[in-house]
Amino acid sequence: MRLKRKDLLGIEELERDEIELLLSTAESFKEVSEREIKKVPTLRGRTIINLFYEASTRTRTSFEIAAKRMSADAINISVSTSSVVKGETLRDTAKNLEAMRPDCIVVRHSSSGTPRMLSRYLACPVVNAGDGAHEHPSQALLDLLTVKEKLGSTDGIKISIIGDITHSRVARSNIYGFTKMGAEVTVAGPPTMLPPGIEKLGCRATTSMEEAIRGADVLMMLRIQSERQAEPLFPSVREYSRLYGLDEAKLRAAKKDVLILHPGPINRGVEISPDIADGPYSLILDQVTNGVAVRMAIFYLLLGGVKEGLQEGVKA
């Protein structure tokens, strides 16, 4: 089996069997991180560039660790220390990096569609590490893996994604991912954070927190993305927290073995109360652990096979 594509740009274009392949491969990779010597020679001599135009701790570190555990050489470029500050365009930066013959470029950018644009210029695989409010495919894959591990399957489960849906690439990738994998997805948040027409992606939308919580097997809390909100979308953090923050009182309406996810970074006391974030239902740190395995699987499946045919569709 192989992925039917050169790049990983989003979950939207993946077929269910490709998602399943990524997840089963990631399950096998988890074992490598449990070893005393956490390294396999699989991608020896390959070079992976992490090109990050936005702040990141988890995702960047996770991609870097994944590359290193497979013996690839990982190079991190963050915009603040690059020639971007000297006025170089994204395309020029990418073409120059490609001239150094990397085997894969992982990119995060605040503009939706950046990875797709780069994938047209670059012969090497491009992995989307989050683009604007569009997609964050590796996050959705690690969320799927985390839920699948706990519940055995994602078929028929109910998941509610709660928070700033409008600005969330995590929400979009997860709506695609979980619906493709047979789950029932509900998105919830204040009306200002629910994009009109979101139901077209195959999910239900509600402004009622209680409705989102009741009956759900999984609750995914999202961070308020103040950096993407041109104007504030709610009157005050306190009000948001009171209405849509997950705390002990609201959790009483939930199933008793509900699972709680959060892509991080968490804002304690805003969208999730500290006792819940650290509580027994929280899988937040399992998500982080699974993130490394998922990214190893992405590299394995994108870089593992022969390179023939990759030149097609490349316009320099």
Partner: protein, 182 residues
């Protein structure tokens, strides 16, 4: 036209003999650990574990060593081989490892599996048990215990079918098909 070279009974007898040989050669079962190469090598490892328990009354630690991540053909094959399970039940430091696979062919899988094992520790020794040795080695690797030597041409395929994975116990030789990885 496929030819059955080992049937259910013959496979069972071969494994029983290998179990005896392992015990004889190692003068008992001390320090032995059985590790099969998934998928079928792992099931053969479990069968050997049972046979040895029947003979000596000792339940040997048994697991799986997946060689996929250590293969030398990952950039050559069109499809990436799917990962199998790695299950090393105890520390292998100072242990005698009985590595088990279904078919020994080029020797490249065994090379990869040995590299994988070395990442988990320093075994005292590694011995190799295979159900079928079909020849055509490309590396200086030799089995210590062989169920049956089956001389083949490169064009033939050797398939091991086990009840656990295929619903039947048999080894067949199929003419002129793509050579199986070994």
């Amino acid at each position: 036209m496929k030819k059955v070279v080992l049937d259910d009974k013959a496979i069972d007898r071969a494994l029983a003999r290998i179990a005896h040989e392992i015990i004889e050669r190692n003068k008992g079962t001390e320090k032995l650990v059985i590790l099969g190469i998934p998928t079928r090598g792992y099931h053969l490892a479990l069968r050997l574990q049972n046979k040895i328990e029947e003979i000596e009354g000792v339940h040997l630690p048994t697991g799986a060593v997946d060689a996929t991540l250590y293969r030398d053909d990952l950039g050559i094959k069109k499809d990436q081989p799917s990962l199998k399970k790695m299950d090393i039940p105890i520390s292998i430091d100072g242990k005698k490892i009985i590595m088990v696979d279904d078919v020994l062919f080029t020797g490249r899988t065994i090379r990869a599996a040995m590299n994988a094992l070395m990442d988990f520790g320093r075994p005292l020794a590694i011995q190799l048990a295979v159900l079928v040795d079909r020849g055509h080695r490309e590396l200086p690797i030799k089995a210590d215990y062989v169920g049956k030597n089956i001389p083949t041409s490169m064009k033939e395929g050797v398939k091991v079918h086990l009840f656990e994975t295929d619903g039947i116990n048999e080894v067949v030789v199929e003419p002129a098909q793509e050579a199986k990885q070994g």
